[in-house]
């Protein structure tokens, strides 16, 4: 894995955004060959989305030939509810960029047949040629998407009941009223994300430090599902200082020492204007 450590949240968001930007531009997407991007929601990727919007506004990137697949969506929450992941993606990303709405895929938590919806989603990913870069986050309980502790590490897109930790963590978005937080969600499986050519996990904040420790310094364990990516050939963890607080000093020093190598991935930062 690459463990990219930046001083703070803003720098981490910027590094991640630059990486995504460079990957898209290097790929040279076209009508015949779309760049497929997996996307997360939540407070962690917010800064990254802001930077991507800035790059789009400056004319440096375009999402015209990008297809996106979000990781998850709540079950039973109306699509236009302010806390639905559809609302999050619309307000924080899609409405500010030039993506074709037909190429922005999000699981439908209000589908008649949830299982069929999940299967159809897997199908759509396959038809799109698989995911080129899957961006994700990590929960305080070490989950990726809504693959809660105990999820199979080879799971596929399915319905999951949320763990107590997750419901507590999400309560702040529902006025701190636990009864209002959805209890189920549709989520891509660990296996689904493992199928991507490359995975980038964003982890910021001290409250995620223990989960990061479990994910990369302990073994592969279905109780900390992000640990599955130790077995993926191309994973990048992008964090801030605070997220590394539970890691061994040796680990942090080693990867900080590699920053000059990591930074070659984002410097020079490419632009569509040069093509």
């Amino acid at each position: 894995m690459r463990l990219v450590i930046l001083d703070d949240y803003n720098l981490a968001s910027e590094w991640a955004a630059k990486y995504i930007r460079n990957r898209i531009i290097q790929f040279k997407p076209s009508p015949e060959r779309y760049f497929t991007l997996g996307l997360p929601t939540g407070s962690t990727p917010y800064g990254c989305y802001q930077k991507l919007i800035e790059y789009y506004r400056n004319g440096d990137i375009s999402f015209k030939y990008v297809k996106t697949f979000n990781m998850d969506e709540y079950v039973g929450l109306p699509r236009d509810h302010p806390e639905s992941y559809h609302s999050y993606m619309w307000n924080n990303f899609f409405k500010h960029i030039d993506i074709n709405p037909a190429n922005a895929h999000i699981l439908d938590g209000n589908a008649e047949d949830l299982e069929a919806e999940c299967q159809a989603y897997e199908q759509k990913i396959t038809e799109a040629g698989g995911i080129e870069l899957f961006v994700g986050g990590i929960g305080p309980d070490g989950h990726i998407a809504f693959n809660e502790p105990g999820s199979s590490l080879v799971s596929r897109t399915r319905v999951k009941t949320l763990a107590k930790d997750t419901i507590l963590a999400n309560a702040r978005f529902f006025g701190n009223d636990l009864s209002k937080v959805p209890t189920m969600a549709l989520t891509v499986g660990v296996g689904t994300v493992m199928d991507a050519k490359e995975v980038m996990i964003l982890i910021t904040g001290a409250h995620k430090a223990f989960a990061l420790y479990k994910a990369i310094e302990e073994g592969v364990n279905h109780m900390w599902t992000v640990s599955a990516f130790q077995q993926h050939p191309r994973t990048i963890f992008v964090c801030d200082e605070d997220a590394t607080l539970e890691l061994r000093v040796k680990t942090v020093k080693y990867f900080k020492g590699l920053m000059h190598v990591h930074n070659k991935l984002v410097d020079p930062v490419l632009s569509m204007k040069d093509q």
């Binding site: 559809h86 619309w90 409405k95 709405p101």
Partner: protein, 372 residues
């Protein structure tokens, strides 16, 4: 083009680089319009998978809903209360000119007049949508003749009337027809007026209280019968008194039926009402406030003498008086002037911007633009 056509084929316009008034705040958001209706862009994105055909760059301007003027007696030399053979071209002329003030719909207002005038004028103008030709006509506002002699203002006493049979017959006799009438101003203390209020409301006509010496209970009764508006608050009514607030008391009355709001027109030209009074009304009942111009023939014209209904009016600067007196007679303020004055007079959550009208749109189409 850019939708899956599940809802409509019509082109979609996106207004960018603008600030819109949403949730009582000015927010930096794009405005999406299709076929004259504002779209929810999120629904458009996810349901129809659509995006804009055309983008209009607003260059940072504020987009506000088009202004609606429910009390305007004429302008630019046109007097709606003057019975002529070609009222509709006069109305159309004013309709076109007021686009410059950001007004997109209005109620041509007739002051107290003899039946002959109503019978002649009313049939000539129809309710119609606005467009490139001018602001939309919502219907007439008939201010009088069923008003109080003691608060006639600039209306002529000899044409005032009372309810004889207390029903629709009086209205029909005076007005001739109620088609194309959107609003009627009357005094609630007139005998048998409650029945009339109910009749008018049943026909979908807004009843407004004004030019009256009614007390609060009479006003409340009228509201309970269906009245929902007050004509130029403070003017042509009893002043607020702490033991009988009169019509002004409706702003905080607890007798207003649940779920209903009493709206009140205010002429915010800086002349008809002291800004302090404006603020008191606004703070007491912010959601009921409606800015009106009560503009007269002379609006848009230079100083001098002009006619209003059956009378002669004199313009002195920004004031319009009944010729030879100090009785105010309508105003010559334009709607955008009223909006600016109101913003100055009160502390609204509008950004500090000059609020000068740059362009007017009806149904998403530009119908007027200020010359650079």
């Amino acid at each position: 083009m850019p939708t899956n056509k599940s809802v409509s084929d019509a082109p979609i316009t996106q207004f960018i680089n603008c600030r819109i008034l949403k949730d009582h705040k000015l927010q930096r958001e794009d405005l999406w319009v299709r076929e004259g209706r504002i779209l929810d862009p999120e629904k458009l994105f996810f349901d129809e998978q659509g995006y804009a055909d055309k983008r209009v760059d607003c260059e940072g301007s504020i987009i506000a809903p088009g202004f609606i003027d429910v009390q305007i007696n004429g302008g630019y030399g046109i007097d709606f209360s003057q019975a002529s053979d070609d009222i509709s071209s006069g109305v159309s002329f004013v309709a076109r000119k007021i686009l410059e003030h950001g007004v997109t719909s209005f109620c041509p207002t007739l002051v107290t007049s003899p039946p002959a005038v109503y019978h002649k004028v009313l049939p000539q103008v129809k309710v119609q949508n606005g467009g490139h030709h001018g602001a939309g006509v919502l219907g007439f506002h008939l201010e009088g003749p069923f008003i109080s002699a003691k608060k006639k203002g600039a209306h002529l006493e000899q044409y005032l009337r009372t309810f004889q049979s207390g029903g629709i017959e009086d209205l029909m006799e005076a007005y001739g027809s109620l088609d194309n009438v959107a609003m009627v101003t009357l005094a609630p203390e007139l005998a048998s007026s409650q029945l009339v209020v109910r009749e008018l409301c049943q026909r979908g006509i807004t009843v407004s209280l004004g030019h009256s010496v009614g007390n609060l209970s009479q006003a409340e009764e009228a509201v309970q019968s269906g009245a929902s508006f007050i004509t130029h608050l403070f003017n042509a009514m009893l002043p607020f008194h702490h033991r009988d607030p009169g019509i002004v008391g409706l702003l905080t009355s607890d007798q207003v039926p649940a779920g209903r709001t009493v709206y009140y027109g205010m002429i915010a030209d800086g002349i008809h009402t002291n800004p302090a009074a404006l603020r008191i009304a606004h703070r007491a009942h912010p959601s009921g406030l409606v800015l009106v111009t009560d503009a007269i023939t002379a609006m848009g014209l230079p100083p001098g003498r002009h006619t209003l209904g059956q009378q002669v009016i004199e313009i002195q600067g920004l004031h319009a008086y009944v010729a030879g007196t100090k009785t105010l007679s309508g105003s010559i303020a334009t709607m955008d002037m009223c909006v600016r004055h109101f913003k100055q007079a009160s502390d609204l959550v509008l950004l500090s911007d000059a609020l000068n009208v740059k362009a007017t749109y009806i149904s998403g189409e530009e119908v007027w633009r200020k010359e650079p």
